[in-house]
Structure formats: structure tokens, C-alpha cells
Amino acid sequence: MNTILFFTIYSGVIAFIGLVSLFLNNKKAIQKASPPLSIFIISLLSAAYIILNFTKLKPNAILELLNWEIPFGKLQFGLDSLSGLFLIPLLILTAATSIYGWKYFGQHKQEKGHWLYFTVLVSGMVLVILSRNAIAFIFSWEIMSVSSFFLVITDKTNEKTNEKTMRAGLIYFVTAHFGAALLFIVFFILSNSSGSFEFASWHNLQLSPFKSSLIFILALIAFGTKAGFMPFHIWLPLAHPAAPSHVSALMSGIMIKMGIYGLFRILTFISPYQAWWGMLLIIIGSVSGILGVLFAIGQHDIKKLLAYHSVENIGIIMLGLGIGVSGSAYGYPLIAFFGFAGALLHVINHAMFKGLLFLGAGAIIRQTNTGELDKLGGLIKRMPVTSVLFIVGSIAIAGLPFFNGFISELLIYLSSLFGIIDSSNIPMAFLAVSTGASLALIGGLALACFTKVIGTALLGTEREQFPETVSEVPGSMLAGMILLALVCITIGMGSYFIVPILTGPISIMTGSPNFLNVTLMMNITKTLTIVLFSILVLGLIIALILKSIIKKNKPVKIVNTWDCGYSAPKASMQYTASSFAEPITDYFSIPLNISKKENVDSAFFPNNKWHFHSQANDWILTKILEPFILLIGRFFSSFKWLQNGRSGFYVLYIAIAILFLIVWKFFI
């Protein structure tokens, strides 16, 4: 069967399931289960289908559906390997989040339209990926934005969060449409040059450097608002915590990647690239990577923290993209190859581990009713499987070996390495070294951040005694997480088998890649896979030796934690997330705009409880954007006397209008 048709039908079927779910009764188990389970099965099968057919995807195949009577050309769909690459994580994540979402709501009332919005979001994203006509693209883009908006505003547990949710929804919707408006312009410029709204006509346009730069900048902002790199990330930390967790997983995991997809797609139209684009991308990437992770460290709400990590990971993708673009611009196919490869692989990887982490966070929130790190603790004993999966996700997101995050970061590092060593071009070398160094810093900080999360939420003792009900989540929720964790490990350990899929999309980006580059990548991943496996074997041997030693020695004793002589350690004595992050947030307190809440009793014999809480406040929204909007609002409201209720004035306006027109048309 034609793959394009297959996925067009897929998007229709998925949306149809959502529509049907409106008429189902949530109180009956089978009816409640059928939408998520059917989405799960269909998506998983489709994922398998596309993975198996990945090499057969044709770059220029087009499916025409309707004879579109809108003056925008034909409604065209296509599926090349660049689209396919984004489709894979989308399908896997859809499967994982849908099965997770089945029982996520538990006792809480599930919103009637939940599965409808969910499926429409998915089918919107599939259509974005498939669209080969600008207007179809914008339409799908809008469908995606609107449905996810509905998903963001579903949470209405109480008055306080509700206000936040509304604000998040508003800001999300507005930024999404800001991007969409710029998107029009981008597509208009392109279609103005080619005379058609069909993507196929946009290749090899031979645009002037100014025009292509204009397209690039506008596209960067337009897609950036969706992708959420700095400074367009404002909606992200608001919207992700507001949505239900599996929706956050879907949004953070793949929806923001649609921005990246768009950027990749636009870049295919405006080659040859210019060097400063790469520089701009690298600057954006490093700023949003570093600031993103720093803000994450300053957050103590688990979902908000994860949201900032999305900003960080988008930054990493931008670094890869940036070095790829500069490699292309300076004429180093090797650098471009690895840069694009890293960026593309990181798209998949981030979808997987961020999905996993959001699902894990959701499981924690569902059971404990809080996402505040400083109220959690010791969950590894109550929710062992979730905790393991969360740790897997954490290692992966920190870019550490054995999991997928490492592979994509390694590819970007390699690109940067080649940029430094192999190129004699000085700007290239500087771009490359800043890419590598930023990546290193981001990696280190991400490690700090996730050790904080794991250390305070999962490990140690419970800060506040949880009720008995706090235990492992249902199997269906675990299944979703396990699916993603398996993908993380598979990519991390078996990179040799995974990276070939990158060659197709890269060839779309750069023209057919040098055979040597592909071989080089294959060789590296091959050795890497072997080395990683041998290290694991080594670890296993050492573990067995240690185990036998411990067994042979005196019996293991279990005692209290030793606290330098203090005999009764209490749960509240543990390091909190705020205190863990304090050195870092202190050091970076200026860009992070840290606010501290300290409650210190300085008497010799303090009676009050000491308390310390710090919070990083995103100043782009509160210090720049909102005052600006307020200013504009004030300016506007200074005109409100125009409608002052006096009919005399109203007639005066008519007279003025007449006089103005007569003067304009006859006397000027």
C-alpha cells in the first residue's frame, strides 16, 4: 500500500476515534478503554509499518486528494524520509501516551472531549508532517495548535491552578498564532517567488540572499514560537505543567518538534545557506540550552522543570542544526552531515526520553497529588518501577552513555570536533568550539538538574508521610513508560542499527551525502556499540565479584543513616531541591532572576521552623513582554474617550470623516 495514503488514512482514522469517543460512556470500563487502546494498537502498528518501510520512502511522491477549490493550488500530501523521521517518534509517543492516558485520570473526572482533542492533535501533527502545500500546512498547523490549546486548559482542579491554567492557555494560544501569522509571510514570500503554494515548486528557487535571509529569519521566529527556544519559550513552562501529563508528554515530546520539522523543511527550500545563519542558530542553541537548563535547575515543580528541559533540548537540536548549516555554508559536508545527523537523532531521542519523563512525573503527581519536589521523597520504595523508568529517562536526558541521549549528543560533538580539527576556516572553528563547549556545559548542568530531581523526589525518605494509597501506578500506565524506556535503551545501545535511518533525511537537507561520511558514522556507531556492551559486561563481572565478596564477609547490617553523630536524623533534615540547587542558582542568580523565601530565626535557641525556598522566575515574560503589552494597552485605553456617549460627538466624527476625505481627495 502507498505509505502516503496509509498515513493520510491514519490521521483520519485517529480523528474518527476521537469523534466516536464523544459518544462513549466513561463509566463503563470497556467503553472507557476502547479509545486509548485502539489508538495504542493502531499507532504502534503504524510505527512498525513506517520503520519497516522507511528505506522505501520516496522523496518526491505526491498524493493529491481533493480538487481544492480554494485559490491555493491542490491539496497535496507527501512522505519523504525527513517527514518519516518525525513520524516515527510521533507514532511511538502517541501509542505510549494513549495507553498511559487510559487510566491516568483515575478518580478524577475525565473531560468529555479529552480523547477528541488528543486525537485531533495527533492527526493534526501527522497532517503537518504530510502536507506538501503551504495552505494545507498552515491548516494542519492550526488544527494542531487549537486542539492542544483545548488540552492545555482541561485542568480545572481548583481556583488557584485554574487561573494559572487560563493564563497558560491564553499565552500558548497567542504565541502559537503569532508564529502562524509569521508563517503566512514566509509562505507568501516563497510562493510569490515561485508562483505556487505547492512545496514541490519551491525547490531551486534561486532566491536572492536578502530574500532567503528574510525567509530564514521569519521562519526561525515562526517555528521558534512552536519549538520554544529562547526567547520564544514563554508559553512552554506555562502550558506543559497545565496540561495532563500524557498530553504534556505528547506536546513536549513531539509537538514542539513540529517547529523543528518546519525549520528543516524551510531550510530545504532556501539553500545555499549563509554562514551567519549557522552562527545565529548556534547562538540561539547555546543560549536556550544553557539558560533552559539553568531555569530548570531553579524550578522545583517537576513538570515546570521538565518544560524548561524541553527548552534546553531544543537548544541542543538547534546547536546541531546550526553547526550543520554552518558546515554546509562553509563547504564542509562532513561537518554538515554530522550536525544534521545529531540534530535529527536528537529529535527522536528527546521525544522518547522527555515523553518518558513526563509520563513518570505524571505518575508521581497522580499518586501523590503534588509535583513539588520539596514535598516528595523516597518514592523509589513505593513506586519502584516508575522510579527506575524515571531514572532511565534522567540518564538519557543528561546525555549519558548507554541511553539514547548520548548518541545524538555524540554526533553533534563529532560535528563540532571535525569543525575544529579538520577545517582550516577560523570562524568555523570558533562556531564549532562554542557548540562543543556549550554542549558540555549543558550536559553537566542537566546532570546536576536530574540528580536533584531523582535525589529529592525518588530517593531518601518521605518528607511528609504519604498516605497508604501512594503506591505503584496501574500496569497500563507503566506499559506506556516501558515502551519509551525500551526505545531509549535500544537507541542507546544499538545505535549501529538506528543511525542508518538518518542518511535519508540528511540527503534531503544537503543533497546526497558522501558515501564516506555514512561509512564513517556507521564505523563509529559500530565500535561504540561494541564498547558499550563490553563495559556492561565488565560491570556485570565486577558486580558479581562484589556480591560474592559481600556475601563472604560479615552479614550486612541495616542501620540509620549516619549523620555525623546526630542520633535521630529526621526527614526534614534532608537536602531539599532548593538547597541542592542553591550553589548553582546563586552563581547564576542574575540571569535566573532568583527569588528566595527564607524564614530564618536567628535567636540562639530558634523556636520557629527554618525554611528555605528559591525559585527562578522567567523574566522574559514578566519583565519584558507583559509590561510591554500593558504599555500598549494603556496607550490604547487613552483613546477610550472617543466613545464618550455624546451623540453630538458621534455626528462630529461623521463630519470630520467627510471633511477629511474631501480635503484628501480634492486638495492634496
Binding site: 466613545q643 456617549g645 455624546r646 451623540s647 453630538g648 460627538f649 455626528v651 461623521i654
Partner: protein, 215 residues
């Protein structure tokens, strides 16, 4: 005859404008409107002597009847019915209003003479009178804070429209008739019904009580 009388009638119209704009009492204003209506009714006879005489006579009779008799009577009756305060409360003082009237009249003559876009068979006098009248009508609506005053302003504005329509009276008498019809229906029935409504609701005809809907 046309050449002799027209400037004088135009001047008379302008003077009636000045009278209306500077009157301090509603009844005086209405009197001014009556005079103006009569003057306008004569205009077709002067403008188009001999052409389609019967039609012009009809126009004259209609004008006198409606503008000179029915409309003012109805207005006066309304004022009596609702016991409105007879004093006009101007937003802008009488002397300024008079000044405005003179200035706009002068401006209208100047403008009409200046612009030579109109065909030859158009008299600059009656057009500039029309323009000056329009200025006054608009001014009354804008600057008077009494519902009846605004209606009077509207009538004056309509008179301006009527004056203009006379320029096509020969070729399209229909339009002139429509202008008069507008007076009858729009100016009187509707407006006075509205006045009654306003009075029954607000016990006042000052526009002040009609300034609650803002923004």
C-alpha cells in the same frame, strides 16, 4: 429673473441659518426652520422657470405644506406635549455659534467658487447656500444638548440635502420628492416618536440623560 433673485434667496437662506443657530429658544428656532423651508420651496420656481412648470408647482406646494406647515406644527405640538424646557442649552455659546455661521457661510461661497468641478448649468449660489446650511445643520446636532434642538439641526441638514437635490429637479424630480418624503417620515414621525419615548423614560429631553452608554 433667475440671475436676479437667486443670490438674494441664497442670502436669505444663509440669514435664516444664522437666525436658527443664534436663537436661544426652541420656538424661535422652529420659526427659523419655517422661514427656511418656505424659502427653499420657492427655489424650484426660481431655478427652473418654464421647465416642466406643473412639476415645479407641485414641488412648491409640497415644500410649503411639509416644510412650512406640517413639520413645524408637529414639532411645536411635541414640545408642548412633553413640556420641554424652552431654553436651548448650547454646548458652545451663541456668539461663537454666530461667528461659526458667518465663517462657514463665507467659506462655502469661497469653496464653491473655487472648485470648478460642477457642470456649467449649476448655480454657485444655491450650492453654496446648500453647503452653508449643511454646516449649520451638522453644527446644531453637534453643539446642542437638547433632543429637540438636534432634531431641528437634522431638519436643517435635510434642507441642505433638499437644496442640493433641486439641482437635479428637472431631470430627476423623483429625487426631490424623495427628499421631501424623507422630511416627512424621518424627521417628524420617527423622531418625534423617539422624543416621546425618551421623555416617557427619562422625564427630560436633555441629551445629558442619554449619555450613559459609553466606551
Amino acid at each position: 429673473m433667475k440671475e436676479n433673485l437667486l443670490p438674494w434667496i441664497s442670502l436669505a437662506i444663509v440669514l435664516s441659518n444664522l437666525y436658527i443657530v443664534s436663537s436661544s429658544r426652541l420656538t424661535y428656532q422652529i420659526r427659523g426652520v419655517v422661514v427656511q423651508g418656505l424659502l427653499l420651496s420657492i427655489l424650484p420656481l426660481i431655478l427652473f422657470p418654464g421647465e416642466d412648470f406643473i412639476h415645479m408647482i407641485i414641488l412648491f406646494v409640497m415644500g410649503v405644506a411639509i416644510k412650512g406647515i406640517i413639520v413645524p406644527k408637529y414639532l411645536l405640538k411635541t414640545i408642548q406635549d412633553v413640556r420641554v424646557e424652552r431654553e436651548v442649552h448650547p454646548l458652545i455659546g451663541y456668539s461663537f455659534s454666530l461667528f461659526y455661521g458667518v465663517i462657514t457661510a463665507g467659506l462655502s461661497f469661497f469653496l464653491i467658487n473655487r472648485i470648478d468641478i460642477l457642470p456649467d448649468n449649476f448655480s454657485p449660489f444655491h450650492l453654496s447656500a446648500a453647503l452653508a446650511t449643511a454646516f449649520i445643520g451638522i453644527y446644531l446636532i453637534i453643539a446642542r444638548r437638547n433632543v429637540v434642538s438636534q432634531i431641528i439641526g437634522y431638519l436643517v441638514l435635510e434642507n441642505a440635502g433638499f437644496t442640493l437635490s433641486l439641482s437635479v429637479a428637472v431631470s430627476q424630480p423623483l429625487f426631490v420628492e424623495m427628499g421631501i418624503l424623507l422630511d416627512l417620515v424621518g424627521g417628524i414621525f420617527i423622531m418625534t416618536i423617539a422624543v416621546n419615548h425618551i421623555y416617557s423614560e427619562h422625564e427630560s429631553l436633555s441629551v445629558k440623560s442619554l449619555e450613559r452608554l459609553i466606551q
